[in-house]
């Protein structure tokens, strides 16, 4: 039996101090800035750690930074030919061990979908791989669902431990924490004292309750065929997406959205090639130099987003849905577009037609 420890709410700061001496610890914090809400940042003793609600933005930036350097380049005079320049290239990446403390099961599930794309394709992404390998997740059993949550509709649950290294259950005025693997076990001694039997029992009961609970209605995992059946129904897509203002927030907050851009930034003779988050909701995303755009209209771009998550992705990766049901796209959308409704009605529309 693995050791379970208990940490009281009041001792959390001391524990995070201990852990952050060993590794970088990222925690959900509220900066008192309404624009950002709760987001994951490197631990600092002055920041308030927020564990009683889901973060506004998922911790995807811990492993997949919003902007990261792929290459450094520098033009130098060619010593052998004074009329020419040579180029020095560097592709170093400094990665330290990271603990993401206080993620939710949906947040962690996002990385399981990322892994398919960044690690299991024809090419491996070495930047992602190095960070991913050195990142641990201390995940909190989720007991704060709201009307936008639907993790059970995409095959997960608020008690889903998959992908986590440490598992935390909120009990009394603190947390019972257990290690789920060897990597997690190594951190246990730094975290707290042996939990009392009644605390362990309480945590167990909460886990059982959550395991039998459903968050979200219906099943969205079998929608691939419905999507292809409705692909050319322009009226359906136009009707569903007419409100959309192409702001891209749904992709920004999404734990499973990973599309990126690559651009060069330089000053004088040196610079960097950067990778930064991009969004398939933007017109320029697919705009070609010739002026041709395969997805010029917003309904075509949104259709691609729905298709990617519920049809293309499962077709490619053994049925895995590229949606973790966190509900952030619904919560953040300024015009309240609800992806659940679009996917459900996709099916209804197909059924109604038959």
């Amino acid at each position: 039996m693995s050791e379970k420890i208990f940490i009281a709410q009041g001792e959390l700061t001391a524990m995070l101090e201990r852990l952050s001496k060993e590794m970088d610890v990222w925690v959900p914090v509220e900066m008192g800035d309404e624009k950002w809400g709760v987001r994951f940042l490197p631990y600092h003793r002055d920041n308030v750690v927020v564990l009683d609600r889901q973060s506004t933005i998922s911790p995807k930036n811990v492993v997949f930074p919003q902007v990261e350097t792929l290459l450094h380049f520098r033009y130098q005079k060619d010593d052998n030919d004074p009329s020419k320049q040579r180029i020095d290239l560097e592709d170093r990446q400094d990665v330290s061990s990271v603990l993401v403390f206080g993620a939710r099961p949906c947040d962690v599930r996002g990385f399981l979908t990322f892994d398919q794309v960044f690690l299991n394709g024809r090419y491996k992404d070495p930047y992602y791989e190095q960070r991913r390998k050195k990142t641990l997740f201390a995940t909190l059993l989720c007991d704060t669902e709201d009307s936008a949550c639907f993790c059970s509709s995409v095959g997960s649950s608020p008690g889903d431990k998959e992908g986590s290294d440490l598992w935390m259950v909120s009990v009394d005025d603190g947390y019972v924490i257990e290690a789920l693997n060897e990597r997690g076990r190594k951190l246990i001694p730094l975290m707290g004292k042996q939990a009392a039997p009644e605390q362990i029992e309480k945590a167990q009961r909460i886990q059982e309750q959550v395991n039998s609970k459903r968050v979200g209605e219906g099943d969205l995992t079998q929608s691939a065929k419905d999507f292809t059946g409705r692909f050319t129904d322009m009226d359906y897509w136009r009707d569903m997406i007419s409100k959309c203002i192409s702001c891209g927030i749904c992709t920004f907050v999404c734990p499973t959205c990973y599309c990126f851009n690559i651009t060069d930034e330089s000053r004088d003779l040196e610079g960097e090639r950067l990778r930064s988050w991009d969004s398939c909701m933007f017109y320029h995303y697919t705009l070609e130099a010739s002026g041709h755009n395969p997805r010029p209209e917003k309904f075509e771009r949104y259709r691609n987003r729905v298709g990617h998550k519920f049809s293309y992705f499962p077709d490619k990766y053994n049925g895995m849905i590229s949606c973790c049901g966190c509900g952030r796209c619904i919560r953040s959308c300024p015009v309240s577009i609800d992806i659940r409704r679009i996917v459900y009605q996709l099916k209804e529309a197909v059924d109604a037609r038959v």
Binding site: Y75, D94, Y123, F260, R273
Partner: protein, 278 residues
């Protein structure tokens, strides 16, 4: 920290060995990888692409249009269109660029063996077809009759004109066309799909390979269907805006397919199975 053991995002440095002015807005670059061993060992399939980097400006995708057996250099034809191509056009012989290649799938050269071949190209669309054409000329005995229908806006917009004699002496029937009459122009006049219909090549044991502007391809497909070409007899090579070129960044998808790794070469049969979003 050590550098990565292997990093598909890191280009090889290369030197521009030669620049050929094809048309007023198309230059052909011959480049050599600086790493001699990598240059010697470089291999690829006709139809595969590469990403060219101008550091400080960015990267763009171009088909490698030198044929694989001719290994002295890698060749890319670049039409001046956007930021990267603009800057590429300003470079000189001896300048340094980055190359990530080969990328993508290439033409099914073995599957094409034993068939008559019909190339149909418009404008810069000749670039990928030229690679395959030269490959076939290098392996002439493997392929049947070869016909090329190649059109451009004007005689000045035709690329590779200096090679036409080499193509013809390899037994290629070359039909050239331009959009309207020009003084001194003795070849065909008219759009490529119209010339295709006039020529009416037989579909029997023939594979048609086409590349050009989307509107040309659309009408070429209609023309080929009228000539009884079946879907599997038609092959095309696509272009998309690309970034990573290695199937990750999510930009060049058509449904489940990524043009950068699953393409750029697709048969019409494959295209028909994909979502209509080209």
């Amino acid at each position: 920290m050590p550098e990565f053991k292997s990093n598909p995002f890191r280009p090889e440095l290369a030197t521009i060995q030669d620049i050929i002015q094809e048309t007023s807005n198309i230059l052909t670059f011959r480049v050599v990888l600086n790493d001699e061993q990598k240059m010697r060992e470089f291999s690829f399939q006709p139809g595969q692409a590469g990403q060219l980097s101008v550091f400080g400006v960015g990267e763009s995708t171009f088909v490698i249009n030198s044929p694989p057996p001719r290994k002295d250099y890698l060749q890319f034809s670049v039409m001046r269109t956007g930021e990267v191509t603009q800057r590429l056009h300003q470079l000189n012989i001896g300048d340094q660029i980055g190359v990530r290649a080969p990328l993508g799938n290439g033409f099914p050269v073995d599957e094409l063996k034993g068939h008559d071949i019909l190339f149909i190209a418009g404008g810069i669309g000749m670039a990928p077809l030229r690679t395959l054409l030269l490959y076939m000329l290098d392996n002439r005995q493997d392929y049947g009759d070869i016909m090329v229908i190649y059109g451009a806006r004007s005689p000045e917009d035709l690329c590779y004109t200096y090679e036409f004699d080499e193509w013809r002496s390899g037994g290629v029937r070359l039909v050239l066309t331009v959009d309207r009459e020009f003084p001194g122009w003795k070849e065909r006049v008219g759009f490529v799909p119209t010339v295709l219909t006039e020529e009416a090549p037989s579909s029997y044991n023939c594979k048609a390979i086409t590349c050009g502007p989307p509107i040309m391809i659309k009408f070429v497909l209609i023309g080929l269907k009228r000539l009884d070409f079946e879907d599997h007899q038609i092959i095309t090579t696509l272009e998309k805006r690309m970034k990573c070129g290695i199937g990750i960044c999510g930009r060049c998808n058509i449904g489940t397919k990524y043009v950068c790794v699953d393409g750029p070469v697709f048969s019409y049969e494959e295209l028909r199975r994909m979502v209509p979003e080209i």
